[in-house]
């Protein structure tokens, strides 16, 4: 029975990993920016969920509704006011910029929230259910469904909405998009805002699963990075495939090797993929 338990755990965690990664993947794919603040956005989302629950008793499910617009505006303004100024510079410049912004945000969080690990524990606890002889906590299950829903929502936004089509168009051919009358810089801001909103929501959900501390931001960033490489850049389905694969390898691997090797395993997987299949599971070859 341990196998079904490992598989179910991997599916649950995989959807959360996908949710962590899609915002990162969107920004990377559309803006060609490796957004190093992404991990800190996730942590900030967790603190938001923690704070709302502790002070106002608002459950994390509703915190998502607060987090999404808040983080969208934060991301939009960051891109519009700061990153758009250097967006046409080489990738190292935007990387340095997001690195600096991450230092500021992360240290601000350490200053205000301290570096202690906190945990959002629902009271009363929601208990757990048995799925195919495997035990799954209900709060995790709901978090998974919410993560899947957010992923699906992004897919629909990109496919069905006018602004979504423009985001995809800018990613595929910037000059042609300009000829369609697309204002590239405001599309960049929208894409960055969406990435931030997804990070914030992922943070809210991760608060139920992970201990909360500013120090975990690099872990989240690392996961997002690995998922993007595994799944292939810039596609929603790729992030989902990459997330589940990463969680599966971590789950099965740590069952045999012990949980202390989870991160090592994920980065070994990253290196293997970079050598064998650099375009990722679902990515297209020869596409930047």
């Amino acid at each position: 029975m341990w196998l079904t338990q490992v598989l179910i755990n991997a599916l649950v965690l995989g959807c959360l990993y996908a949710c962590i990664a899609i915002g990162f993947s969107l920004v990377w794919g559309v803006l060609n920016v490796i957004n190093l603040i992404h991990g800190s956005f996730i942590v900030l989302g967790s603190y938001l969920a923690f704070g709302l629950y502790q002070t106002l008793g608002i459950s994390p499910w509703y915190a998502i509704i607060v987090a999404a617009p808040l983080f969208f505006v934060l991301g939009y303004l960051l891109q519009f006011l700061l990153l758009n100024r250097v967006i046409n510079a080489p990738v190292l410049v935007t990387l340095t910029m997001t690195f600096g912004l991450d230092l500021i945000l992360n240290n601000a969080m350490i200053y205000f929230f301290k570096a202690d690990y906190r945990k959002l524990t629902l009271s009363p606890p929601m208990g757990s259910v048995s799925l195919f002889h495997a035990v799954v906590p209900i709060d995790r299950l709901i978090a998974t469904v919410a993560a899947l829903a957010l992923t699906g929502l992004l897919y629909l936004v990109l496919r069905r909405l006018r602004v979504g089509r423009a985001i995809v168009a800018v990613r595929l051919d910037r000059d042609a998009a300009v000829l369609m009358g697309v204002d590239v810089k405001s599309i960049y801001a929208v894409a960055f805002g969406l990435g931030a909103a997804l990070a914030g929501c992922a943070g809210v959900l991760m608060a139920l699963v992970y201990p909360i501390s500013p120090l975990t931001s690099s872990t989240f960033l690392g996961k997002a990075f690995v998922v993007c490489v595994l799944g292939g850049l810039g596609s929603v389905s790729g992030a989902l495939a990459g997330g589940v694969l990463l969680a599966l390898v971590e789950g099965v691997g740590t069952t045999f090797l012990g949980p202390e090797h989870a991160t090592t395993l994920s980065f070994v997987l990253l290196i293997v993929f970079l050598i064998v299949r650099p375009q990722g599971l679902l990515g297209r070859k020869g596409f930047e």
Partner: protein, 243 residues
């Protein structure tokens, strides 16, 4: 300035950074006409298209659209004036469906869903092949279908002037004939067209007036039929040696 002029250029200069490509271009595009721009590779035709659609700035000289100075306008502003550019190499959004490509053409227009539907229908009426494959990714189309999709995307922008860069590039003569017929039909309905072509015979055959470009300057101009009969043009661009 006559009100039948949709575009007028006076001594227009432009280029890329330090490299000047256009050296004082004078040109008039009349309302309701097909105007052809011909010339060899590297003559500056595509650069001129990019200036007209606002992708690269005017360095000096004048660019009038409908009699107004539009030299500093952005691509979006020129598009709103109805100056629509179908770029060289089609530049479709390959991973998107045909219909999504067409809808991107209408991106900057504020129109109702119903009107969008009518415009889609009219493009599908012009190019029935596109309707059959509306949900297929644009990258999977043949060269001719891609050109139809690119022109269709241009039509969705509600052009007053449709500028097509290299209509026939890489297409079979039969396909070129079909596309030319479609352009003639659009022109008969009143649409102005600026056609950039390397296939000089086709271009001079369908245009009302033509401009010949060389080394970033306009070197000849006149009605298409007149240029087609011109021995110098025939020798330089059609490879015909006169006795």
């Amino acid at each position: 300035m006559s009100d039948s002029l949709i575009i007028e250029l006076q001594q227009l200069c432009a280029g890329y950074g330090e490299v000047q490509v256009l050296w004082g271009v004078d040109m008039k595009v009349r309302q309701g006409e097909i105007t052809a721009l011909i010339g060899s590779n590297g003559a500056g035709k595509t650069t001129l298209m990019r200036v007209l659609s606002g992708l690269i700035p005017v360095q000096s000289g004048h660019y009038f659209a409908d009699g107004r100075d539009v030299a500093g306008d952005t691509a979006a502003e020129l598009l709103a004036r109805g100056v629509v550019h179908v770029p060289e190499g089609r530049r479709l959004f390959g991973a998107m469906s045909i219909e999504d490509n067409l809808l991107m053409g209408a991106y900057s227009r504020k129109v109702s869903r119903a009107e969008l539907g009518r415009d889609l229908d009219s493009v599908y009426g012009t190019f029935p092949k596109l309707r059959e494959r509306r949900n297929q990714a644009a990258a999977t189309l043949s060269g001719g279908e891609q050109q139809m999709c690119a022109i269709g995307r241009g039509l969705m922008s509600a052009p007053r002037l449709l500028m097509i860069d290299e209509l026939s590039l890489g297409l079979s003569p039969l396909l070129v004939e079909q596309l030319v017929a479609a352009l003639r039909a659009l022109n008969a309905k009143g649409m102005s067209i600026l056609l950039v072509e390397q296939d000089v015979t086709t271009a001079l055959d369908i245009c009302h007036s033509a401009y010949v470009m060389d080394m970033g300057r306009i070197v000849r101009t006149g009605p298409g039929a007149e240029l087609l009969a011109d021995p110098i043009i025939r020798e330089a661009y059609l490879g015909v040696l006169e006795d």
